[in-house]
């Protein structure tokens, strides 16, 4: 085939240019350390790299979240341990207070110890997480969970449980609402814990329920129903505050003045509660001096300890008072046991969550490595191969350049002309 001079120059020129451009491409790859410089180099790889990068970043974020949960649960766990210790020592004090050989002043000393325990417990319940948020208020993290009242303490938080996402499909709670730890002590399976005084001689029964219509007036305080010396009238007082109680007739709604006349089966309403005393024929009616105590069926530990303090502070002059004291201390012990059980349950949940975080952390670390490897196999440059290619391309370019010089020097005109 006939070759024109232009062809020689053009073709060599374009080939050298192509070699230079592939050399340049390889050089850029080596400097960037990446196989993929633009999506055109590996379209599928580029798009996979984007998706894997997101997954890896989300995995890292879960690690951060797990650290947050771990920090919070660590503080919670420490608080719960302290609470459990306090409860145990309180119980020991109460048991020792049951010793018949103690006198009032001894018991008063125990009551003082209990007051100190109460204060410690309250401050533990109002712990914060280090950033100023209360741990045990549910969602209301800027509201102090428990404020002290005459009867113990009231809960000001809510029942919300805060969660954080610790894995793709797993959320763990950051803490527990206060009531789960310090409250939910059932004193009775019913709405109210009704105790007939041990020294009662009559056999009437008292039932107390919440009156739905006036339920907003519930105080959570303790009440005592006492029959007078005739056994035909009774009066009701609020034993927590010592205040008086306004009674209304359960059927008519009319106000009743105290002492109220006893009618078997007649319901009497006060402070959101409805009380019915039932007794049979005169021989089984309430006897003079019979007493019944009414406590809310659900208590928190502060109320329990306050009740115990009140019981220990009351003088025990006679046998009846002694019996009251024993009953009160037994009730307190039972309550503390129930509370301890609540605390330990929450503690167990916290422990389980912490363990789960450990295993999630190790799984997360493995996943992170897997993602990094995937990304690396898509993106990263194989240096050995690249540098070999670079050398090869350099050699080819040199050869092409040298041969071009030689060929372009050949011309017949070099030999014509004298």
């Amino acid at each position: 085939m006939r070759i024109s001079t232009n062809m020689i120059y053009q073709n060599s020129g374009s080939q050298i240019s192509e070699l230079q451009s592939s050399l340049n491409q390889t050089l850029q790859q080596v400097s960037a350390g990446k196989k993929i410089l633009t999506p055109a180099d590996d379209p599928i790889g580029s798009s996979r790299a984007l998706v894997i990068t997101q997954a890896a970043a989300i995995n890292d974020q879960y690690t951060v979240n797990r650290q947050d949960v771990q920090d919070n649960l660590g503080i919670t766990s420490g608080v719960l341990t302290n609470v459990a210790n306090l409860l145990t020592s309180t119980r020991t004090s109460i048991i020792s207070a049951g010793n018949g050989g103690l006198v009032d002043s001894d018991r008063a000393a125990i009551a003082t110890t209990l007051k100190a325990n109460l204060a410690s417990l309250l401050s533990l319940a109002n712990s914060t997480d280090g950033t100023g948020n209360y741990l045990f208020s549910g969602f209301s993290t800027t509201t102090m969970p428990y404020t002290q009242t005459a009867s113990g303490a009231t809960y000001n938080g809510d029942q919300g449980q805060r969660y954080l996402q610790v894995d793709t499909a797993r959320q763990l709670p950051l803490s527990a609402p206060g009531e789960q730890i310090f409250g939910n002590i059932r004193t009775s399976a019913n709405q109210f814990n009704v105790q007939a005084d041990p020294s009662n001689t009559g056999t009437a029964t008292l039932a107390a329920t919440i009156d739905p219509a006036t339920a907003a007036n519930l105080t959570g305080n303790n009440y005592a129903v006492t029959f007078d010396s005739t056994g035909a009238n009774f009066s009701i007082i609020n034993t927590t505050t010592g205040g008086s109680v306004a009674l209304t007739d359960g059927t008519t709604g009319a106000a009743i003045t105290q002492p109220a006349p006893y009618v078997s089966g007649q319901s009497v309403k006060f402070d959101g509660m409805s009380v019915v005393i039932t007794g049979g024929p005169p021989s089984t009616t309430p006897a003079p001096g019979d007493k019944y105590t009414i406590q809310p069926g659900n208590q928190n530990i502060f109320e329990t300890i306050t009740d115990a303090i009140n019981a220990l502070s009351a003088p025990t002059g006679n046998a009846a008072a002694r019996k009251d004291l024993t009953a009160a201390l037994t009730q307190a012990n039972n309550n503390i046991d129930a509370s301890l059980s609540n605390v330990l349950t929450v503690s167990a949940h916290v422990g389980a969550s912490l363990q789960e975080i450990d295993s999630l952390n190790s799984a997360g670390a493995t996943t992170k490595i897997a993602y990094a490897q995937s990304l690396s196999s898509i993106q990263d440059l194989d240096y050995a191969k690249a540098i070999t290619t670079l050398n090869q391309q350099q050699t080819t370019l040199q050869a092409a350049q040298q041969s071009f010089v030689k060929i372009s020097a050949l011309s017949l005109f070099n030999y014509i002309g004298n």
């Binding site: 001079t5 984007l50 100023g132 996402q165």
Partner: protein
């Protein structure tokens, strides 16, 4: 005889001279582009009979012939056209490829930072740590918006560049056309005055011009005598004889920023369809603009629409630090809708995005002709025809603006609608106060400690911005779903539908609203013009859609009573409610009077009309008026449960937990991929197309090289060959000179005979 030899010598000399000068011409023009080497064609002159013998008369130079092959030239031209198209496309798409290449310039890093900030928001909703987390989220949102705006900006610059290059390509084509016409004229004159001899240099110039024109667009030359009639594209005449018909750059009728190509015909300018000019730089640019650039803008746009829509909808279900319902975090104006400047009517078309997941990467054409609206998806030509608007297609609702306009478009009116095209450019952050991020859920539950049962409740969730209720004892209204076009401000306090048993219809829809009723696959639309409102027939179980909401009203066989009402109202603020458990019926009472409670246990779901006692089911989810919660455990008689607004929970992070799931949900491309996945698909598309065009360009280059080599082997000058020709003609000249010298000596000898 001597004279004859002298003549012989003279003709030989002349031929040799011509040979040398032609060789010289070839050597001089060895590097001239488009030059075809010339070869002297000579033949022996006719011999004469002198004295019974035929004696030759010397040499005639017939022609200085241009070595040129038409066929090979056509091959070169067509290869030039293909390469021109591939190169133009490649240079534009390489720009796009480079923009999204760097992982720090794409939107992925800022998208990740934004969702990370939402996770940190879930960890620290309030307090001092919360204030920092909230500010960080707003900053991350700003970065995301800035990056999306920036990406769109770069694409717009490429678009402007393409426009400019189209205009300059047309100018170049017109320049060639003028020159071609002039050359045609000159060649015609040259040939007619010189008895048909070829003006080689003019012919070379003309052929080279045709090659250069081929680079701009596809060229077809029809030779008519000595004239080239040049047709470009699919038969558009550019040069006819010595007349040139230049092209014109005109503005697109539907988009003034877009350059189109037209030609002058009888005083008006007629637009040439884009696919009638394939090939060459012009064809490559037009192809790039109408396919890839549109896809790019819409891909980025629909990513922006999905992010904004999903986050905004979740904000609206949450409660901010001030206790108010969340407002839009992102604002945007996504749709560009333009009417053709040749429309006779004055109507405009409005497009509202109802379902971002169904958005495609195409533009849409709407044409009104003979009473019918035809909606066409530009990318593949799929179309939908209807006799009235609104039409729903690909997640967009097309309607007359402001709906319903009194004037119907003129017959033949056309509109171009680009649903997501301006989303990326107009995306902005709509919240400045960090407290307005809705991290909490405006609903919570409480189980009083006075309960004796063991029931616990979840804190609850808000399912929808709109809650429904009814006072009918027999019919119920189900949950209301809202789509991306729902506007809380337009909804206001909601509305109430009343059932009329005489006409079996529901009335009370908002004035001027269009209501669609779907029953068993068929949809009927009822339109109204404010201040009137539609009345729709009642069918149990039909789905009713209006103003971006959808709900179902149904009964179990007994239709509603006359004047029964069905209400839709904002679900937030939730109504504070106290539920009571009753024995022995095992029911819950206390729900709001008009609540239609749905109890879902496992897979069974039952809705109870107002006033009906709702059974307690352990583990069931209770939903009404847009809220729902789950109850588990065993209740006791008289137990009560409180549900209602979340008034104190500033540490509540439930809405943030829901918002962060948007990152991993499949909310794009028909529900098949996440936001990042959709962007990755777009990156892969650009990468694939770029590498495809690179391969095409490489193969076209090699084809052009082969064709050029073939052409060069016919027409190219080889200096070594010319060197040997020089020697040849030089010797020939010397020999001819010697011949004349001998002829002259002969003559002298003749002359001296007589002396």
């Amino acid at each position: 005889m001597g004279a004859n030899i002298l003549n012989l010598g003279q003709s030989a000399l002349a031929a040799a001279q011509l040979g040398i000068s032609t060789t010289g011409q070839n050597i001089a023009n060895a590097s001239t582009p488009g030059y075809s080497r010339e070869v002297v064609l000579q033949s022996a002159a006719a011999s004469q009979q002198i004295g019974g013998v035929f004696v030759g008369q010397g040499v005639n130079v017939n022609q200085v012939q241009r070595q040129y092959s038409d066929f090979i030239a056509q091959q070169v031209n067509s290869a030039t056209t293909s390469k021109g198209a591939a190169d133009a496309y490649l240079s534009q798409i390489t720009g796009l490829n480079n923009i999204i290449a760097d992982s720090t310039t794409g939107i992925s890093p800022t998208l990740q930072t934004f969702f990370t900030s939402i996770q940190n928001l879930a960890s620290s909703p309030n307090g001092t740590a919360g204030a920092a987390a909230r500010q960080a989220t707003l900053s991350a949102a700003q970065s995301l918006v800035g990056r999306i705006n920036g990406l769109q900006n770069q694409v717009s610059q490429i678009s402007a560049d393409v426009n400019g290059q189209i205009a300059s390509s047309v100018t170049t084509i017109n320049g060639y056309a003028t020159q071609l016409a002039q050359l045609n004229d000159a060649i015609g004159k040259a040939q007619s005055t010189n008895n048909g001899t070829q003006p080689n240099d003019l012919l070379d110039q003309r052929d080279y011009l045709v090659t250069q024109l081929s680079q701009q667009t596809s060229v077809n030359v029809v030779q008519e005598g000595s004239q080239y009639n040049v047709f470009i594209g699919n038969g558009q005449p550019l040069v006819l004889g010595s007349q040139s018909n230049p092209l014109q750059v005109i503005q697109s009728t539907t988009d003034p920023s877009r350059n189109e190509i037209g030609y002058q015909a009888k005083g008006t300018v007629v637009q040439i369809a884009e696919n009638s000019l394939p090939g060459g730089t012009l064809g490559g640019l037009l192809d790039f603009r109408s396919n890839l650039l549109t896809t790019t803008q819409n891909s980025i746009g629909r990513v922006a629409v999905s992010i904004a829509s999903a986050i905004n909808q979740q904000q609206a279900l949450g409660q901010d630090l001030n206790g108010a319902v969340g407002t839009n975090l992102f604002t945007m104006n996504p749709t560009i809708s333009s009417s053709s400047s040749s429309n006779t009517g004055t109507s405009q078309i409005s497009a509202t995005i109802t379902n971002p997941s169904a958005l495609t990467t195409s533009d849409y054409n709407l044409q009104y002709a003979n009473g019918n609206y035809t909606l066409t998806r530009v990318s593949d030509g799929a179309s939908l025809t209807s006799s009235s608007l609104p039409m729903n297609f690909d997640g967009v609702k097309f309607d007359l603006a402001p709906p319903p306009a009194g004037a119907v478009p003129g017959n033949g009116d056309q509109f171009l609608i680009r649903p997501a095209a301006s989303a990326a450019a107009t995306l902005a952050v709509g919240i400045i106060d960090p407290n307005k991020l809705a991290v909490a859920t405006p609903f919570s539950t409480n189980v009083p400690s006075t309960n004796t049962g063991s029931v616990t409740m979840t804190s609850g969730v808000i399912n929808s911005q709109v809650g429904s209720g009814s006072n009918s004892l027999t019919a119920t209204i189900g949950a209301v779903t809202t789509d991306a076009s729902f506007s809380a401000s337009a909804f206001g306090t909601g509305f109430s539908l009343t059932f009329a048993s005489g006409t079996n219809t529901l009335s009370g829809f908002p004035a001027g609203a269009t209501v669609s009723v779907t029953n068993g696959g068929t949809t009927t639309t009822y339109k109204s013009t404010a201040p009137a409102s539609s009345s729709v027939p009642y069918t149990s179980g039909a789905t009713i859609s209006v103003n971006g909401m959808s709900f179902t009203i149904g009964d179990k066989g007994t239709p509603p009573a006359n004047n029964d009402t069905f209400t839709v109202a904002p679900s937030i603020p939730a109504t504070a409610t106290k539920l009571t458990f009753n024995t022995p019926a095992n029911t819950l009472t206390g729900f709001p009077a008009t609540a239609n409670v749905t109890v879902k246990s496992g897979t069974t779901s039952t809705t109870y009309p107002a006033g009906t006692a709702v059974p307690y089911v352990n583990g069931a989810t209770y939903s009404y008026s847009g809220v729902s919660f789950t109850m588990s455990g065993t209740p006791a008689k008289g137990d009560v449960y409180n549900v209602g607004p979340n008034t104190t929970g500033t540490g509540d992070n439930r809405n943030a937990l829901l918002m962060q799931t948007i990152q991993t949900q499949n909310i794009m491309v028909g529900g098949t991929t996440t936001i990042q996945g959709a962007f990755a698909q777009f990156v892969s598309l650009i990468g694939n197309k770029t590498s495809e065009v690179q391969a095409t360009s490489t193969s076209e280059t090699s084809m052009l090289k082969n064709a050029t080599n073939a052409q060069q082997s016919v027409s190219g000058v080889n200096l070594d060959e010319e060197a040997s020709n020089l020697l040849k003609y030089q010797q020939s000249y010397q020999a001819a000179g010697k011949l004349m010298q001998i002829a002259s000596q002969l003559f002298s000898t003749l002359l001296t005979i007589g002396q």
